[in-house]
């Protein structure tokens, strides 16, 4: 695994000792083998479930970049999932089916929205920041409800997946799955690079001690804003994937509880750790799936489980494997 990550160009800090590296390696290896399992058992559902896990992992990774590393607790991150999805859906409806147009558009519109939201929200702090990001997400939610041509409140089925001129065929479930897998790996590499760069240290410094940051001569606003935009763009990509995965978009993608889900995944996995969001997403979605198979009322167990994690597991699942704890 270490070797694999080295090949991918992931810098390995000295603290990446055995137990911490083993778990991400195992999880990624298993995710990579899901199509083999699906083919062997003829169970296509595994591809659907784990494809969704990978896509939402990318969204959680992007949220962790701002929330875990940057201390910017966005309660409106599902908006970018929705914007990415609607970019794909709207372009399809207007007859543009090429992924080479749809996906860059999804990323660009999400980035632009993040730029506007960030520029206005980063003036506030703490709970006010949490709430103003929520407010912007709710606005997008209601805008899409009003988009009659694109399904309004009910949402819209997307007739065909993004086309990539024969490079990849997203109608092939295995190819779609591996594309998601590759983008998940790429997101991990990207974020690990960014957080260890000069830019990333400024972001983490701003979370750790804003006043000291200013005293050494850095005005943090621009850096935080750029970080917010990067996260929005990455989540927009995740939204484009999600729209292709489900062939469906609706305002419900952005309802505030979806943003809550994303926050839960990140906090559950471990704030500010590279692999935490993936662990959190895998755990949350698998638990939800497993519980709904054994009981009619999964929330009765999932809910108190989250509460127990909040009370007892300071630092999320990652902290069980020797990661540093939050202060």
């Amino acid at each position: 695994m270490k070797a694999a990550l080295k090949v991918l160009g992931v810098p390995l800090p000295a603290c990446w000792l055995a137990p911490r590296a083993a778990l991400p390696a195992a999880v990624l290896a298993l995710l990579g083998l899901v199509p083999v399992y699906a083919a062997a058992t003829g169970d296509p559902f595994a591809l659907t479930l784990f494809g969704r896990i990978e896509i939402l992992s990318i969204a959680a990774i992007s949220l962790n970049l701002i929330m875990g590393y940057g201390g910017m607790a966005s309660f409106g991150h599902a908006a970018y999932l929705g914007i990415g999805g609607y970019a794909v859906g709207i372009l399809w409806k207007e007859g543009i089916t090429s992924g080479f147009v749809q996906w860059p558009a999804a990323i660009a519109v999400s980035a632009l929205f993040a730029l506007v939201v960030g520029a206005l929200s980063l003036r506030t702090r703490g709970v006010y920041f949490i709430m103003i990001t929520l407010a912007f997400a709710q606005m997008v939610y209601y805008v899409t409800q009003g988009l009659d041509r694109y399904g309004g409140d009910d949402g819209m089925t997307i007739g065909s997946r993004s086309g990539f001129a024969g490079l990849v065929d997203l109608n092939n479930a295995t190819q779609l799955y591996y594309l998601c897998f590759a983008l998940l790996l790429a997101s991990l590499v990207l974020v690990s690079r960014v957080v260890n760069s000069r830019f990333g240290l400024v972001i983490q410094g701003a979370r750790s001690n804003e006043r000291r940051m200013r005293a050494i001569g850095i005005s943090t606003f621009r850096y935080k804003l750029v970080c917010f935009v990067i996260a929005g763009a990455l989540c927009g990509l995740s939204g484009a994937l999600l729209a292709n995965h489900t062939n469906f978009i609706s305002p419900a993608m952005m309802y505030w509880t979806r943003s809550g889900d994303l926050m839960v995944m990140v906090i559950l996995g471990g704030l500010g750790s590279l692999f935490g969001p993936v662990l959190g997403t895998v755990t949350y979605l698998l638990l939800e799936e497993a519980l709904s198979r054994v009981t009619e009322y999964p929330g009765l167990f999932l809910g108190p489980g989250l509460l127990l994690v909040a009370i007892f597991l300071n630092g999320g699942i990652e902290s069980l494997f020797g990661a540093r704890r939050r202060e």
Binding site: N196, R198, F199, R214, I216, G217, S219
Partner: protein, 253 residues
């Protein structure tokens, strides 16, 4: 005679009805170690805030290196070479000592929009940072997280971070706060080494430190400058004895 490095004129600030600074004037030439003393509530903390740029004055001006910086925000002043240490240790607690200093080096290197290369392997940041830690006597603790350092070590690191921004003027806000006598002696020795190469404004409670280090002393009482001059003159000043030193002398018998 050339203009002083730091020149403050008519600096005034009130909080509600309370005068925290009233027409303060200071002229600190390059290379001087200038102490500001005063009893509790004299407005020392306000003065630090005004000089660092965290508090905006109602009236008056601050000139630094021939430039009016009255309206300049904290980061801008730092970029011009006005560094500060904090009275209550203010570091990046979850970073290592070396990361703390390296970030300060980076802040003045001017290139923070670099996204993909590993800043912890950037010799242009790490080597000056390591050198600054060595110089201050923290070389062996470079890779320790700040919250694992002792209070004395954190106070030293405070200074190292400020120095790493290559300042022309160092604003020291009670550097001895909370230090034991050994640690204090080490801090005084370190500041003495810096004297001459660096202009310093030293806000301090501890009289021994002040008289050991300062070239000139300004005394604040209720936000006003009541005396300013070399240590001997200040020591002899009747108003100062009355307002401040007298009190201390009486206490020390």
């Amino acid at each position: 005679m050339s203009e002083p490095l730091l020149q403050v004129a008519g600096l005034t600030k009130r909080f509600g009805g309370v005068i925290a600074a009233e027409a303060i004037a200071l002229a600190i030439p390059a290379g001087e170690c200038h102490a500001v003393i005063g009893p509790n509530g004299a407005g020392k903390t306000t003065l630090v805030g005004l000089l660092a740029g965290e508090i905006a004055p109602e009236r008056g001006s601050i000139r630094f290196d021939g430039r009016d910086i009255t309206a300049l925000a904290v980061p801008g002043r730092s970029q011009l070479g006005l560094a500060r240490s904090f009275q209550i240790t203010s570091l990046f607690a979850d970073f290592t000592a070396l990361d703390n200093v390296a970030l300060a080096v980076q802040a003045h290197d001017g290139h923070s929009f670099r996204f993909l290369t590993d800043a912890r392997r950037d010799a242009a940041l790490r080597e000056p940072a390591r050198a600054a830690l060595e110089a201050i006597g923290l070389g062996s603790r470079a890779d320790a997280r700040v919250d694992k350092l002792s209070h004395g070590e954190q106070r030293q690191l405070e200074i190292a971070v400020a120095l790493a921004t290559k300042p022309r003027l160092l604003l020291l806000d009670e550097p001895m706060a909370g230090l034991g006598s050994d640690e204090s002696a080490r801090m005084v020795a370190m500041l003495r080494r810096l004297k001459g190469s660096l202009t310093m404004v030293l806000i301090e409670h501890d009289m021994a430190t002040v008289f050991a280090l300062a070239d000139r002393i300004t005394v604040l009482v209720y936000g006003r400058v009541i005396a300013s001059g070399d240590p001997a003159a200040v020591r002899a000043d009747a108003a100062v004895r009355e307002a401040y030193l007298g009190e201390q002398d009486a206490r020390h018998g």
